[in-house]
Amino acid sequence: MTAKLTKDYIVNQIKRNIRGDDRKLDEMREVIIERGVSANAEGSARVKLGKTEVIAGIKMDLAEPYPDSQDRGVLTSSAEFLPLAAPEFEAGRPGEVEVELGRVVDRGIREAEVIDFKKLCIVEGEKVWRVFMDIVVINHDGNLMDASGLAAMTAILDAKMPTIDKDYKIDYNKREKPLPLTTIALPITVMKCGNKLIIDTTADEEEAIDTRLTVTTNESGNISSMQKGGPGGFTVEEVVEICKIAGKKTDELIKKHFKSKKK
């Protein structure tokens, strides 16, 4: 981490379009994506945004469907800040920041119907695939939301489904087909500093500015989830501009790192 600058200094510099690491306000840090970090997971991925590092994994088992969607698979998500990732992180029941992180990434994937849950039904009303999507933060240097969303999406793309025999016993050693997908969706978080909008903030920057809007966009440019955070406010115009920034950045990330899943 860079030497601690005062909050005011950081804010003043951003207002002059200057960031500590010489990036433009709408420039992401280097993105490194690596698949398959845990062979015991059905799918997994490590994502680095600069020094921020997150890993995500997909596990699957069989479960009963929810009463109101008897013919669809189930998605269960969690996010955890590992204590090793930052001095302020502690073990224990997930705090509100972890809860929000897990739920926002979950909704982005769920609402975009990234996974085709109808294809995860085995016996209607009785047996469906359950997909566990777990996110763990390894090093916290800001913008955990986007790093987590990118890691989760990559883990989904990396996943191979285990096979089941006629008694519905799962064989985790024989993984064959990929998860049935319909699109790719990624969150982009834009923060506000005075009247400036800025993306992919570092931990230092997040000490100084704290109002943000996270927008998850899919391959078609449609938005599947939004979440405002922090104490400040936005105008309608800012919301619209942020949606456009998120759409553009998502498009760039998808084109650079993924193959289309559109149907």
Binding site: R107, N222, I223, S225, M226, Q227, K228, P231, T235, V239
Partner: protein, 238 residues
């Protein structure tokens, strides 16, 4: 199922597209609290109460230059069809967080260093829009408690149902196959958006229209909030 919910701009409950559900607000409903409000937003019912400014407990959470907000959002067990087990759930934790952030900058917290302001929002009947009803109630409860604010926070959702942009969805409308729901909280006086969430699948254009519609809704709600506070004031001084 092929029957449409919305015909010629008229919704199942007779409302126009940009009309909120009947909204009743009563300030000062919890005797022990420093401020409180009861809100019926359609058939959704919420009570909110405010205690404070008061001492911070545990002490180490205290901030030297401003008050801290402690916000709780809770659904009572029989507020929903499938009984809600009392205790911790992640949805409530998340809503408490975004509500806290929606109110934080609007309250003059710096006037009460080393203090806490507790806001409790309890959902009595949950039909649709529980979080927007809860914020609307909390905002009135804060004013009723005499906590100084930059203005009233008003809150409503808008969204899309069968291709129409509509204000303040009912549960029936939320179940439409193309439904999206976008709850907003706003300092209605300035139009500043302090809470915004969205689930669904919408274009940027649609998002813009939906957000603009919440603006209209919040202004309508702010009036009813203000009236409730005046009624309470008049009752007290009568």
């Amino acid at each position: 199922m092929s029957e449409k919910l919305i015909n010629k701009g008229i919704r199942p409950d007779g409302r126009k597209l940009d009309e909120i559900r009947p909204l009743k607000i009563k300030a000062g409903v919890v005797d022990r609290a420093d401020g409180s409000a009861y809100v019926e937003f359609g058939t959704t019912k919420v009570i909110s109460a405010v205690y404070g400014p008061k001492k911070v407990h545990p002490r180490h959470m205290e901030k030297s230059k401003k008050a801290i907000l402690k916000v709780r959002y809770n659904m009572i067990p029989f507020s929903v069809y499938d009984r809600k087990r009392p205790g911790y759930d992640k949805r409530s934790v998340e809503i408490a967080k975004v509500v806290s952030e929606a109110l934080e900058n609007v309250i003059f917290l710096e006037e009460f260093p080393k203090s806490a302001i507790d806001i409790d929002m309890e959902i009595i009947q949950a039909d649709a829009g529980t979080r927007v009803a809860a914020i609307t109630a909390a905002s009135v409860a804060l004013a009723d408690a005499g906590i100084p604010m930059r203005g009233l926070i008003s809150s409503v959702a808008a969204g899309r149902v069968e291709g129409n942009i509509v204000l303040d969805l009912t549960k029936e409308e939320e179940d439409a196959s193309d439904a999206i729901d976008l709850p907003v909280a706003m300092l209605a006086r300035t139009g500043e958006i302090t809470l915004l969430q969205m689930d669904g699948d919408a274009s940027v254009d649609e998002i813009e229209k939906i957000v603009r519609m919440t603006e209209k809704g919040c202004k309508d709600i702010e009036k009813i909030q203000g009236k409730a506070l005046i009624e309470k004031y008049n009752a007290n001084t009568a």
